[in-house]
Assembly symmetry: D3
Homo-oligomer: 120 residues x 6
């Protein structure tokens, strides 16, 4: 909500709780988690294209954690910053100014991702 | 936003601000707050059933504070964890992966609620 | 959109298109359809309770087709009108006046469902 | 959904079903309907100002029936077309291109309202 | 709303009302319409990629008219059905079962688009 | 998220990131930012009226950062607290109890704004 969020903290919380959900969740939840991974595998669309779709969907639905996840995945897939920014601008046009706080969040997180990946 | 939130802090802020709204809010707001309490009283549905409906509605609408409130109320009404987790899994199926960050939040909060209630 | 919709037409279109999606859809879509059915099976919650959760989720997310589906399922499970109306009123309180058009739709559909089930 | 809707049909269905809901609905629903009317009465804001707020809220939440209702009320309160169009343009900027189909609906309905009110 | 909608009727209404909005709308609205076209032009992402993003955004935000528009554009850009269906399945996973009625709508419309384009 | 947020931190983050987006964003994003400012200029509606529309739209769409921005702008335009509270109560009625956490946020922020503006 208008303040920076540590990339590290997001990942730690996400991994710890996902693990717990996979242990203690009901069967529907576990099957959904499995299907969620399956959905982004290469098919008629490449993984890169699907991650950009996931990022756009997350941005128009205005979910910072989902934006964080797909930004990390886009970086892992080698999607260039210009492509990410255009996906975010399509999200901005479709979703309107209510998306702007999430654009700020995404640009800030993109910096954090690059800093992690740059040699000291 | 991918990080833990203290149950205690949520309650303190909620109570302090609700009190202020009831003092300084306009009449529409005050009447809505009163109706909001009324809606969850026993009728054709039990309080337990209504709180599970409130939890599901909060989860698909992706509001962490509303999830926290209805989780606390469910615990007070003695709803078992398995029932809560199934209500959350229906929310996940209806609302999709965008609900997952709120599932993580709910599972983490459920732990905090149990820790408060367990004897030292 | 403020006008009646034939229960019959909804069912015919839904069944015809669902069949096509199950034939021509990709594997993710097919697995999701299967999981969607699985999620409403009896567990810690009864089928009746889960259908009321599905109805509430559909109402606050304001999807008439989903409301129609869960109303039909509630009727099949023998959920009484009073219980349905209270689930809709929780949806109204959580989701606000923007839910009202869907309340009108649901009350109208409930009539059509009863007319179908009543002997001539 | 991209096609004209008769102003007359909207009104007829709305009035008939609202009446039924007020007869057969549970107490929460009836109290909400009463509060919903109360909220738009003159206070620190004029009725005109509140109807423009209602129209904007309806447009960004993308509910055609709610847009129809507030357009009719705006016309009754004598709000000029230019003011209505600017309220809709704020909605468009906040809510993005996903609001455009509802803008088309609103402009079309505004015509129907004027035709009703113009002498033959 | 669970029933077919003529592709032809959508297009006719869309074009007629867009024209009126561009004539009678305020300046903010006109500038937004221009920017909306600009956003889908080729840049770091191709037009094809941007249209798939627009389709996904429309599906998770559950707007049939926006789905119709981007399906038509995808077909014009030569996007294959398999790619379209995978974009819709990512939308389904992100947005959940509430997206299913819009999946039915999209599959039905895709047929209508192919029928128009096939020689008699 | 149920906890106070410093007005100062919101402003600092917002300004720093907006500046970066205006430097590094693609052309669509820059044009949207410019149009977003343009939309709130005086026309058939006053700036005060448009800011109240922006506040209401932000509240029903449940975006704390957008609420913060429009509350600050309302205060700058001299909108009285009573008018702001009525705009929020219309938002509450339209959007339902899911808006309540954002009402708490708004009331708390309004205090912070007044404290900044009051002489020591």
């Amino acid at each position: 909500m208008g303040t920076e969020q540590s990339l590290q903290r997001f990942r730690e919380f996400r991994e710890r709780l996902n693990e717990r959900i996979l242990q203690e969740g009901d069967r529907t939840t576990k099957r959904f988690f499995s299907l969620d991974s399956f959905a982004y595998q290469e098919g008629a669309l490449t993984v890169r294209e699907k991650e950009l779709l996931g990022l756009t969907a997350s941005a128009v639905l205005r979910c910072n954690d989902c934006i964080a996840y797909h930004l990390i995945r886009c970086a892992e897939e080698g999607v260039e910053d210009d492509a990410i920014k255009e996906a975010l601008s399509v999200s901005l046009i479709v979703g309107g100014s209510i998306v702007i706080p999430h654009l700020r969040y995404a640009y800030d997180l993109l910096d954090q991702i690059h800093q992690e990946n740059s040699p000291p």
